[in-house]
Assembly symmetry: C2
Homo-oligomer: 416 residues x 2
């Protein structure tokens, strides 16, 4: 029977091989003593198997402080553990509980992070994956290959009424934007009830589409309880929308998959809360593993932060995340990386240099809204930045050629 293999980065004050065996034992028989009925045959067929151990450095302080502070050395290693598909079939939550369950609680580890997962083809084939992904999102927005989609977020995140929002959307459409999204803090607020917001915004988008032939994609934040999400989804479909946003960590896997399965709208996966799962170098889950789970669930677009972002994440990590989204998951399932956080166009050069791709949804909030010439200037500046980056220009040369981008450099280039 085929197996799923999980790759972990671990730290332990004990012998690495012994700690790995504790992990495999916890995620197989799951108790602290041998129990009757746990035969060798059972263990071989259903037990977790340690596939590989690669010893790394040792350190003097535990990565995660805790009760086990009486040890002198903490050994780091990469370990790979596999489970038979027979154990959980195609049940994603039970698979998660196997790969990411009680093992984080094991005393023998002072650090444990899930780095990557290898799935057999037969497992991946069971899932539909992203219905739209990179190609479908380009089709829905009529953005040809060769440049990224330019997107923005309605800001301020909270407090704006529906009419003001719709007016802002109109301005952004006229500015040439490809994609707009609700903020994740905005669901159905007193000042902006969901249905009213969808009605007002889709009217503006439809009018613009009727006169230009381009239907801009708007990601309405449908995150809510299950039934409310379904109703919100229906509302967006009914008004001719093409996209819905879900805060995937807040909503959770099973409800998100249920929404993805419907397949009428592209699903924009917002990973807010991600820092909690990833910020520590030796705890939680690495994006490479994380995005695979959500691609199996069927999201079409997923956030990856951005180069020189305003958050803690390093550029190297962002580049790895972009590459991870674009890598084929066995047979496809490419998901569109959503580049955001403090972006204003200036990062286009480094983003393109390091990823060599334009298959991105490049999001700017303040970088568009607060442009000296207004949102139209902001969109133009980002398009100019990407044109410059693709033809091999640097920031200065691009600013010399384009007025709006020069204004962006003057205003945002100094913010750190």
């Amino acid at each position: 029977m085929e197996r799923i293999t999980a790759h972990y980065l671990i730290e332990t004050p004990y012998e690495v091989a012994k700690a790995a065996m504790v992990l495999a034992g916890e995620q197989s028989s799951g108790t602290f003593v041998e129990t009757p009925g746990e035969t060798l045959e059972l263990k071989q067929r259903f037990g977790a198997k340690i596939e590989n151990i690669e010893i790394l450095e040792s350190v003097n302080q535990p990565a995660i402080p805790g009760p086990s502070t009486s040890f002198g050395k903490y050994h780091r290693a990469k370990i790979s553990v596999s489970w038979s598909l027979e154990n959980f079939g195609f049940n994603l939550p039970v698979m998660l509980s196997t790969l990411q369950g009680n093992l984080y609680e094991i005393t023998q580890f002072t650090g444990l992070k899930l780095m990557d997962i290898d799935f057999p083809n037969s497992f991946v084939s069971h899932f539909r994956g992203p219905k739209f992904g990179i190609k479908g999102t380009r089709e829905l927005t009529a953005v040809p290959t060769g440049r990224p989609l330019i997107g923005t977020i309605i800001k301020p995140s909270i407090g704006m009424d529906v009419e003001t929002t719709a007016t802002l959307v109109k301005t952004l459409l006229e500015a040439g934007i490809d994609f707009i999204k609700d903020d994740e803090l905005m669901g159905s607020a007193a000042n902006s009830p969901f249905d009213k917001r969808v009605n007002a915004i889709m009217k503006v988008i439809q009018n613009h589409a009727d006169s230009t032939g381009k239907k801009v994609m708007y990601a309405f934040n449908i995150s809510d309880e299950m039934d409310a999400m379904q109703r919100n989804y229906d509302k967006v479909v009914e008004r001719g929308g093409t996209c819905a946003m879900i805060s995937i960590n807040s909503v959770g896997l099973s409800a998100t998959k249920k929404i993805c399965d419907r397949g009428s709208l592209a699903i924009h996966a917002h990973r807010n809360g991600w820092g909690m799962l990833n910020r520590h170098p030796l705890l939680g889950i690495e994006f490479k593993a994380y995005q695979k789970i959500w691609r199996l669930a069927g999201v079409d677009q997923i956030h990856v932060n951005g180069i020189q972002n305003k958050f803690w994440e390093s550029d190297e990590s962002v580049v790895r995340s972009i590459e991870a989204c674009r890598e084929s998951l066995n047979k496809g399932f490419e998901v569109l990386p959503v580049v955001s956080s403090g972006q204003w166009g200036g990062q286009a050069f480094e983003t393109y240099r390091q990823t060599k791709t334009t298959d991105l949804l490049y999001m700017a909030g303040g970088g568009i809204m607060a442009h000296p010439s207004g949102p139209a200037g902001g969109v133009a500046a980002i398009q100019q930045a990407w044109q410059g980056a693709i033809q091999g220009w640097d920031m200065e040369t691009t600013a010399d050629h384009h007025k709006e981008f020069a204004q962006s450099v003057a205003k945002f280039g100094k913010i750190k």
Copy 2:
């Protein structure tokens, strides 16, 4: 308008008040520059408000290693931040994205943990909460107040066929157990298809109930995709079951709430994956805050680890968790704490001394299954331990009076 207040433990190399303002700003307007339309009036009505700051110690090393290593001092503090209910209404996922979203990514923090949440009564009243909770679980299992429910987990976690499982269940019923659960690694496996397992186990439980009047509660692990969970739930109801288990972190909030809302079965919330969210003292979420969210969703029983457990968690933390579950959430909503991990009866004394409650589901896996006199001896030993603990005896006195408990002490008392 009433507000929800979140209490965080934070660490920052910057001035604490300034870092707190960055948090409040990110979770209000959410961008790095002032945007047009963000008026003072909007900010006052919808913005996050810093309610309190309590400065704690400063340290020389950041709690979470990262790029900001050039600072000499890292200041710790408790900060309280509030948001108006107007912002998200009764939408739990959007509330989570507000309290636990992008703020974990803010560069200004080298540590951030959500410690507690205060809800206004009007917010809590909107939710039904646990349908069964402590009282309802006692009623369903016919366990009177004055002693904990004694439970066990089917072990080995994986690989056992349905017939062997049903035979084991029969043995456990005859041993006098109150509660049995599937392991979280077991959903619908090749060796134990869900429906077949429910049929076989409920037949044994129903027969036992018919002859004794006591229907033992079995928590079937229904964790799966949304539709499959609904189908699994129906199956348990159809066969007369009283409980379903959900791996809440793997399944997620919206799908779990949808299942809780049905209200025909007690919901056993397994928190596997919890270590990832809580193990670091300055990252993630504390159990006191976590369990409130799940009580609003409506779970009836929730895991809290156990005193002297086999995992990393300290006894103090376990005691705090038990107290948190039993505390009234504004108007009630008490949830039954599930004490587990390495429990065999020996911990009853310390558990009772420190919590002074018997409103517990006291779970032992190996402690029952691997008892020298078999499972019946294991259940008897745990019941004896609790009787001893309640009457103020210590472990030795209890062992002197009870043969089965003495056997447990001899076998498990040495395992560390």
